[in-house]
Amino acid sequence: MRLSLTYQGIPIWRHSRILSWTAQIVSGVLVVAAVAFFLSNVSSAIVQRDIPFGFSFLNREYSTPISEHLLPYEESDTFAYAFLVAATNTLMVSVVGVILATALGIVVGAVQLSGNWVISKVATVYVEVFRNVPLIVQLFFWYILLLGLPPVREGIILFNAIYLNNNAGLSFPWPEGQQRPGLWLLCVVLAIALGVVTRVLLERREERTGRPSYPWLGAIGVIIAGSLVAWLVWVAIGDAPYVMSVPAPEGRFGHPAGGYTISIELTALLVGLIIYTAAFIAEIVRGGLQSVSRGQSEASRSLGLGTMQTLRFVTFPQALRVIVPPLISQYLNLTKNSSLALAIGYADLTSVAKTMTQTAPAVTIFLIIMGIYLLYSLAYSLIGNLYNRHIQFTGG
């Protein structure tokens, strides 16, 4: 008698369902076995070689200084709080870097397409140079350049307001709260909310009546007017909510006091990240603008739209669809690249973590910071994807 291994009349080695299940079970078992093997090695190594492991260190005092921090920090604070401080530093670098790199990148990308041969070539050279050299080389370069600046007394001073030198770092004017600044900010938030409502109402009016109602202009007007009125009320009662604090040399060594001061490490990191990422963003913007076929703008012009209207209603919305997805991945890259702060000594998440490994279990620390970076990546992806969905074709 012949043994026939069939299922639903098909030999089992050719039945797609059985094959797919076999493949999945085999791959699943292989991965689980590999993970179990690694974990058992890790745990035996921890026991045998007495390697510290676990999360109990998080409640211990970190008792190591963090050179620069946005959140208040004392050496008596715990490891857990030090993680928070470092993560905030990374977030700050990421947000500031993203905003400035986007601005610079859009300018350079637009300049590359401009009709003027000289500046479009300059922009191309900028992009080709900075995109093709490793960021870490550039960071070291900016850092050396800043370290080579004269000390505070002979340093660079712009408009008597911006100071750049090799020991105090970069000082620039910054608003300083004077009289209930929080309350005033609340008023601004309210004004923004009002502005959003205005925009929606004016848009509806425009759709209903067909007459131009300038929803964006109205919204911005409401926001500015609201903030200004609140400001005037503050002035009328007593003092303005904020004053611009301008740094000025002070004391025997002439260190700038007032305003806001960042170290040369942070300056070098930001300059390097912004210039590097902007080169990539410029290429994305250029590609996006070029991807809109010429027929689109020609058709728009023949319908009687002006240059700005063509740009605003026809070219730009279509370019945006091409630009946004790679732009988001550049934002992620900038955030991840900020970990190179380690090389020049700015206290970001990675460099604080590296210091922590001297007094706490390294494996756990790196697991934690990888988790935090993943969280940031997910947050950027989420925001980006929501916006992307908003601007894509919705059909109809």
Binding site: S20, A23, Q24, I25, S27, G28, V31, F38, L39, N41, V42, A45, I46, Q48, I51, S114, G115, N116, W117, V118, I119, V122, E128, V129, N132, V133, P134, L135, I136, V137, Q138, F140, F141, I144, L145, G148, L332, K336, N337, S339, L340, L342, T350, A353, K354, T357, A362, V363, F366, I369, M370, Y373, L374, S377, L378
Partner: protein, 412 residues
């Protein structure tokens, strides 16, 4: 009967002088409108001034003794001097591939081979390492370097020969040379002159190139598998691939390199022979594979579903639909993105200093820091290293643009 005279229009006049030639070009591109004219007038003097300052620094103020006196360290790091002939032999082998490529594909490949040959000649005859203290470049090293012209020529002849000059031979030869090169560098214990040189003593540009080539070589197939896995209908496979890709793409490479140094030794059995260079190479490869996978997935998504349907209707089995119909088209469409990823991989090799290796960047920095007379030459060092990286990455992006044009991506 009079023949009807067909009316002949008078020949067109040549365009006015002011619209052609360099005057016309300048009118169109420099002074197109008042704003453009203003920009030109303002920026040109600025650019001339900046270029003048920069050239003045490069050829006047800057002191390049640092680089001229330490060519060996920049090229091969701390690889033992008396065994330097081994990396040099490896280099000779690699030149064969350049020659073959030039003969087989011509065009961009030929231009790159010519540039490569020119750089080799320069490296062979420039008077560095002769008049400076430090490592004096012996004559036989120059002979080795100039020998590359010979192997370049041999490669060219191999490529011209219709029997040997086939893409398959090129790929197989490349793999053979890669393996041979690693073998020559590591050495064979017991053979005189082939003493073992542990990978942690490799360094300089050689290390960057080895890490990059290994990364590209392995990241591509792994990336393809991951991309296919992520699109597969099998939930277990799909989840595994998604988790792998997203974790590796979500964290900085530095943290992964750290992990490879602290966790991998724990996760492997005690005394498992895997050194830090191999670990770094594996991490860089997997990191790059995750990005390559996403690029290829993008290409697969961009394919019209009709392609796979037509293939299936013709009776191709599933794996052939993937390998013969979908992948070739998908990969062709995303070549620029993949090359961009490989450029990023090459740039990322400069991060291995994190795990204590002396790649070209860290080698240069340690020369600057370790020698009092070079303390002020940090800038020269970094500019030199940047230039070396730039030459390689720019060549790669040039090749990518040429391939793109030859395949006609975006022009169909």
């Amino acid at each position: 009967m009079a023949t009807a005279e067909t009316w002949q229009p008078a020949p067109s006049l040549p365009p006015p002088r002011i619209e052609t030639g360099w005057i016309g070009w300048a009118r169109a591109n420099l002074f197109g409108n008042w704003l453009s004219g203003l920009v030109t007038v303002v920026t040109v003097p600025l650019i001339v001034w900046a270029a003048w300052r920069m050239l003045g620094w490069l050829f006047g103020t800057a002191d390049w003794t640092l680089i001229a006196s330490r060519p060996q360290q920049y090229l091969i790091g701390l690889y033992p001097t008396e065994l330097a002939w081994r990396p040099l032999t490896g280099w000779l082998l690699v030149s064969i591939l350049f020659g073959m490529a030039a003969a087989m594909w011509g065009g961009a490949a030929r231009r790159i081979a010519i540039g490569y040959g020119a750089v080799t000649v320069l490296l062979g005859v420039l008077p560095y390492g002769l008049f400076h203290e430090g490592v004096v470049m012996p004559w036989w090293v120059r002979a080795f370097i100039l020998g590359n012209l010979l192997t370049l020529g041999i490669g060219y002849l191999l490529g011209m020969n219709p029997k040997t000059g086939r893409p398959r031979n090129f790929v197989l030869g490349g793999i053979a040379i890669y393996v041979l090169l690693l073998l020559i560098l590591i050495g064979i214990p017991g053979v005189p002159g082939m003493e073992e040189v542990a990978p942690r003593r490799w360094g300089g540009l050689m290390l960057n190139l080895i890490l990059a080539v290994s990364g590209i070589f392995f990241a591509f197939p792994i990336g393809v598998l991951l991309a296919l896995g992520r699109r597969s209908n099998l939930p277990v496979v799909k989840v595994l691939c998604v988790v792998f890709i997203e974790v590796f793409r979500g964290v900085p490479l530095i943290t992964l390199l750290f992990m490879s140094q602290v966790l991998v030794p724990l996760a492997l059995p005690a005394n498992f022979p895997v050194d830090s260079v191999t670990r770094a190479a594996i991490v860089i490869t997997l990191f790059s594979a995750a990005y390559t996978a996403e690029n290829i997935r993008g290409g697969l998504q961009g394919l019209h579903p009709g392609q796979a349907e037509a293939a299936r209707a013709l009776g191709l089995p599933g794996w052939q639909v993937t390998t013969l119909i979908q992948l070739p088209q998908a990969i062709r469409n995303v070549i620029p993105a993949i090359v961009g990823q490989f450029i990023a991989l090459f740039k990322d090799t400069s991060l291995v200093y994190i795990v204590g290796m002396l790649d070209i960047l860290e080698m240069g920095r340690s020369i600057v820091q370790g020698n009092v007379q070079f303390t002020d030459n940090g800038r020269e060092n970094l500019i030199f290293v940047a230039a070396v990286f730039w030459i390689f990455t720019y060549t790669m992006s040039y090749v990518s643009r040429r391939i793109e044009r030859n395949l006609g991506v975006g022009r169909r």
